[in-house]
Symmetry: C2
Subunit: 228 residues, 2 copies
C-alpha cells in the first residue's frame, strides 16, 4: 500500500522537507515508515510527486521530493448531492472523491434531514480520500445550496439523475465531454424537485430495483456515468 | 421511506401476525409506526408482502399480511470478495446486497488481514441490508474459502476482476446470462492470485485510475458488470 503524505506547494524535485506534526505522526507512527521507504507526496492542490523518507528526527519526518507523477487530466464529472444525514453525506463525499468527481455541489433538498457537515469536516474527509486514492487535485466543493442554485451551475453536456427506481438506462448519450450526476437524499427527490431536474436537462438512470443508501447510489451512479 | 419488518414464513394474505420483540421494537419505537400505517413484510427467505399495522399491544405489534409483491427474478450476480478488514468486509457485503448480488463468496486472500467477520455478524448485516433495500431473497453466502475453492465454484459465463488500475474495459461481453465479479482485498491480489483468476476465465475491468477502498470497488464494479 502506498505511503502518501501531504506537504505544502511548491514541491521541488531534489529538495528535502520536514513534514508537519500530523503528517510526521501519520508516516512514522501510523504507517511505521523508516528511512529509505518510498512515498508519494501530495501538495493537496494539484501535484503528486514520488519521494523517499530520509530521516526520523524526534517527532518529525524529513523526506526528499522526487519527480512529479504525470496524472490523467480528468473529464468533468459533477456530483450534485441532495444531502442525506451527516454520516451518509461524509461517506458520499469520500466515495465521490475516489471515483473521480471533479466538482461536488451539496444541496439542501426538501427531504434533507437537519444539519449539513461542517466545512472543516468536509475538508478533512476530502484530504483523507486523497491520501487513500492518490488523486492530486481535490474536487471543487460548493454549498450547501438550494437545488435550483446548484442546477443553474451545471455546465456539462450530459446530466443524469440516479434513482432507486427501475427506469431504463438512457443509452443514447455520447461519451467523454463531461457528465453531471444528481443523487437525491435518502427518501428521494420530491416530485417538484424531480421536475426541476428534468427541466434542467437531467434524465434518469436506473441503479436497479432496490432502495439504495445514498453513498451506494453515489458509487454506483458515478461508476455508470463515467463508463459511458 | 418504507417500513419493512420481518416475520416468519409462510406469509398468508389476510392473516394477522404478532411481530417478535426485535421487529416490534423497530416498528413502534425506532420508526414510530402507528395503527393504519402501511408496511412491507419480508419473510427473510424469498417473499415480500404488503401489509398494515393493526395495533400496538404493549411491547408487541400486531400486523395484517397483505398481497405478495411480485419482484424481478434476479440475474445471477456473484461477488467473490477477497476479504479486507472486518469493517470494510461488512460494508462490502451490505453494498453487494443493495446492488443485487445473488451469491457472495468470502475469500481469504494472501493480503487479507487477520480475522473474518463472524457468521452471526454477516447474517445481521444481510438482514439490515434487506430491510434497507427491500430485497425478498438474501444472497447466498459461502466462506471464508481459499481463492482456488471460490473460483472453482463460479459457474457464470462472464467473469470480471475489478482492479484499481487503468486496464481498459472489456466491451465485448454479451449481457444478461450472469456475471461473477472478483474484488481483491485492500492491497490487491498478488500476481499469483491474479494469474489464478485469469486461468479461471476472469478478465480485468477498470474502475478508474485511483486506489479504491474495497466497498467502493464492490459498488462501482457491481454497477458496471450489472449494466452490461
Amino acid at each position: 500500500m502506498s505511503l502518501r503524505v501531504f506537504a505544502p506547494a511548491p514541491l521541488v524535485p531534489g529538495a528535502e522537507i520536514v513534514l508537519d506534526d500530523d503528517e510526521s505522526h501519520y508516516l512514522s507512527r501510523v504507517r511505521r515508515a523508516v528511512p529509505g521507504d518510498a512515498i508519494d507526496l501530495l501538495d493537496g492542490v494539484s501535484s503528486r510527486h514520488g519521494g523517499e523518507v530520509v530521516a526520523i528526527e524526534g517527532r518529525r519526518c524529513r523526506v526528499r521530493v522526487g519527480a512529479a507523477i504525470d496524472l490523467p487530466e480528468p473529464t468533468p464529472l459533477v456530483l450534485v448531492l441532495g444531502l442525506p444525514d451527516v454520516g451518509a453525506a461524509i461517506e458520499s463525499i469520500a466515495v465521490a472523491c475516489e471515483l473521480g468527481a471533479t466538482q461536488i455541489a451539496l444541496v439542501r433538498a426538501a427531504r434533507t434531514p437537519g444539519v449539513a457537515p461542517t466545512t472543516d469536516r468536509v475538508a478533512r474527509v476530502v484530504r483523507a480520500a486523497q491520501r487513500q486514492c492518490g488523486r492530486a487535485r481535490p474536487p471543487e466543493l460548493a454549498g450547501p445550496l438550494a437545488l435550483a442554485e446548484a442546477l443553474a451551475q451545471v455546465h456539462t453536456p450530459f446530466r443524469r439523475v440516479a434513482t432507486p427506481g427501475a427506469s431504463p438506462l438512457d443509452d443514447r448519450a455520447p461519451q467523454g465531454a463531461g457528465t453531471a450526476l444528481l443523487v437525491g437524499p435518502e427518501g428521494g427527490l420530491t416530485p417538484a424537485e424531480a421536475a426541476d431536474a428534468r427541466a434542467a436537462g437531467f434524465v434518469p438512470i436506473s441503479l436497479g430495483p432496490w432502495t439504495l443508501r445514498t453513498p451506494t447510489a453515489v458509487a454506483a451512479g458515478l461508476a455508470l456515468v463515467r463508463a459511458r
